[in-house]
């Protein structure tokens, strides 16, 4: 798999140094957003204090505790979730060749959420093991259902409809469970709309073992995805086994979106918006698209969380609702301008 044998299957767009510069700029933006995330909120905290909390921690100061204990863990969770969802979006759009695909729209998130809710109601035992596994199996089940309903024909419209049907199905079934168990509704209604505040940093430990291999794996898939972008025929001509590529991507997507759901509940539209933002900068070279999407996904998620906290402070809007309120108009705009 060294460079001399692989075919770089892309139009050259801009030099490497330009892309690196862009990456640097995006990274700086991410740092700024993270800083704002730590400093702003229901209670705004002086910038010097944030600095102190980060590098010169004084556990007796209540504001520093707030930064370090509350906002820091929230920040980490949203970074991870944003990156995972954006990556899942890139892969799902690449594999299905459908620019409108997204783990939320295709029902994968709601499948995972349904399995988690059902599992929490009926299975007792250690949550740290069961929740991620439940989420993965739900995501896998939903993804297979969508694939099945879409059928062989590569129609993006049909795929989106299949996804919408699956999403509606699973959210209705979740509603059944919650109506039967009304205390569950009280506890879970926050999580079910995708809320970073309902998560905490300990949950990150649940998903690390799955998330890191999935992210590394997606980077390894980049070259094959480049070939796949040229079409099935060209890809197999270049020595890529398309079936295997799709299967591997499916597993990576399932793990990525399942982990996100296990952490914070179903959050949609990040996977839709971020790949388009990244493609604005990088055309279709997945070796660059994937790292860009990771950073941009983190930026989008952190700023969505920040907006959710700032818009109605001292209350807050769940992050999943913020992303949907911004992402759905984006989806509609894409349909109006890009479909046919």
């Amino acid at each position: 798999m060294n460079d001399s044998t692989s075919v770089s299957a892309l139009p050259k767009s801009g030099g490497v140094s330009l892309k690196l510069m862009g990456m640097l700029a995006v990274g700086l933006l991410l740092l700024v957003v993270c800083w704002l995330h730590l400093a702003l909120g229901a209670k705004s905290i002086d910038w010097a204090l944030v600095w102190q909390a980060l590098f010169n921690y004084d556990a007796s100061d209540s504001e520093q505790i707030l930064v370090r204990e509350m906002r820091m863990s929230r920040l980490l969770v949203s970074l991870v979730v944003g990156a995972a969802l954006a990556l899942a979006g890139v892969l799902i759009q690449a594999v299905s060749r459908n620019p409108l695909a997204d783990p939320g729209i295709l029902g994968i998130n709601s499948g995972a959420a349904f399995f988690v809710v059902a599992g929490l109601l009926f299975v007792s035992g250690s949550r740290s093991v069961s929740v991620p596994l439940l989420a993965f199996s739900g995501a896998l089940f939903a993804a297979l259902l969508v694939v099945m309903l879409t059928g062989r024909q590569q129609s993006s419209g049909r795929m989106i409809l299949a996804g919408a049907a699956v999403a509606a199905l699973f959210s209705a079934m979740t509603a059944v469970l919650l109506l039967v168990d009304q205390q569950g509704l009280e506890k879970l209604r926050n999580w079910l709309t995708g809320s970073i505040s309902a998560s905490d940093i300990r949950k990150l430990d649940w998903v690390w073992p799955y998330l890191v291999p999935a992210m590394v794996g997606s980077l390894l898939l980049a070259k094959s995805l480049n070939a796949h972008h040229l079409g099935d025929m060209a890809a197999s001509g270049l020595g890529v086994k398309v079936g295997r590529l799709k299967l591997l991507s499916l597993f990576v997507i399932v793990v990525l979106s399942g982990s996100a759901v296990a952490l914070v509940g179903p959050i949609g539209f990040v996977g839709l918006v971020v790949p388009h933002m990244a493609r604005f900068v990088i055309r279709n070279d997945f070796r660059w698209l994937i790292p860009y999407a990771l950073l941009l996904g983190a930026i989008v998620m952190v700023s969505a969380d920040l907006m959710g906290r700032l818009l109605v402070r001292p209350y807050e809007i769940n992050t999943g609702i913020v992303t949907a309120l911004i992402g759905a108009p984006f989806f509609i705009a894409l349909v109006i301008w890009r479909v046919r």
């Binding site: 939320g104 729209i105 919650l178």
Partner: protein
Amino acid sequence: MRQLTFNRPIIWQPLPGMILSTRLMDILWLLVFAALLVACVVWAVSTGSYGLDINKVVQALLTPEAVPERQVNLVWELRLPRIMAAVLCGAALSVAGVIMQAITRNPLASPGLTGVESGASVTLLVLLILLPNALPHYLLPLAALIGGGAVAAFVYILASLRGFSPLRLILVGVGITALLSSVSDLLITYGDIERVESALIWLSGSLHQVTWPDIQVMAWWSIAGLLVWSTFRTLNLLRLGDSVALSRGVNPKVMIPVLLLLAVALTSAAVATVGTLSFVGLMAPHIARRFCGDRHGVLIPMAAMVGGLMVLLGDTIGRILFAPLQLPSGLVIVMIGAPYFVFLMRKMRH
């Protein structure tokens, strides 16, 4: 090279489905479903927390004078409105589903894609959760109707901004539905939990508050269903593609908006009466198609009966399954219907 067959007479053949050609099997199946529907209605009247035997039910329905007044009241004032509403709404949703699937030429289209259901839901959630005393209770269905209609109009406008196409319509519908469902999530998550629960039960399709005036309104709206039936030929042609339809004298540019309007009318009437039962509109047409294929002249009445049966069964099973607790019929339909739907779609993968 010139074709040598020159003397062949041109026989004008109607396209399949141009005329309402009834086959014996169609009539048979229609009769079977009608009988099934009547049987289910009688069964639904007889079951409940106060059981009645079948003979009593038939007597109360046919000759109310001969039966004690209490039982007549039970049948005519409590159970029958609910059953009629279930049948009418199921039929309306199912016919709307047939229209949507024919227009979009997509077997996965459902009447909810016009945005009617999500619009009605959000209107209702706002009224029930944020402004609980703004409107008297009997005006709520009207409000839902207006909300649903407004959103459907908005979806249509967005879909035809840069030239209308069925694909755009369904995709914009998906987007608007996602947007509005996040608004309802917002209300559900932050609303007062008591009000949220009652709103949720309404939303998932429950029929326990239906009265005769509601049925009358619903029956008027059902005329739209008859109009749809009269356009079965147009639907047959539209399914074959715009150019075929155009060549046979059907202008899709005129007929698609008209049919959409009918679908919206049917859906919004059903949603306003019983809440969202989106799955019926997706599934009932497919079940009906198993018996008569894609000929809309037969498909429409068949789908109407299947839809009515589905909602009626869902509601009745929801009443008796965990009695005295009542499950909303929408949820029962999803629970039973979803696996069957997946099975059904697996068979037609193309």
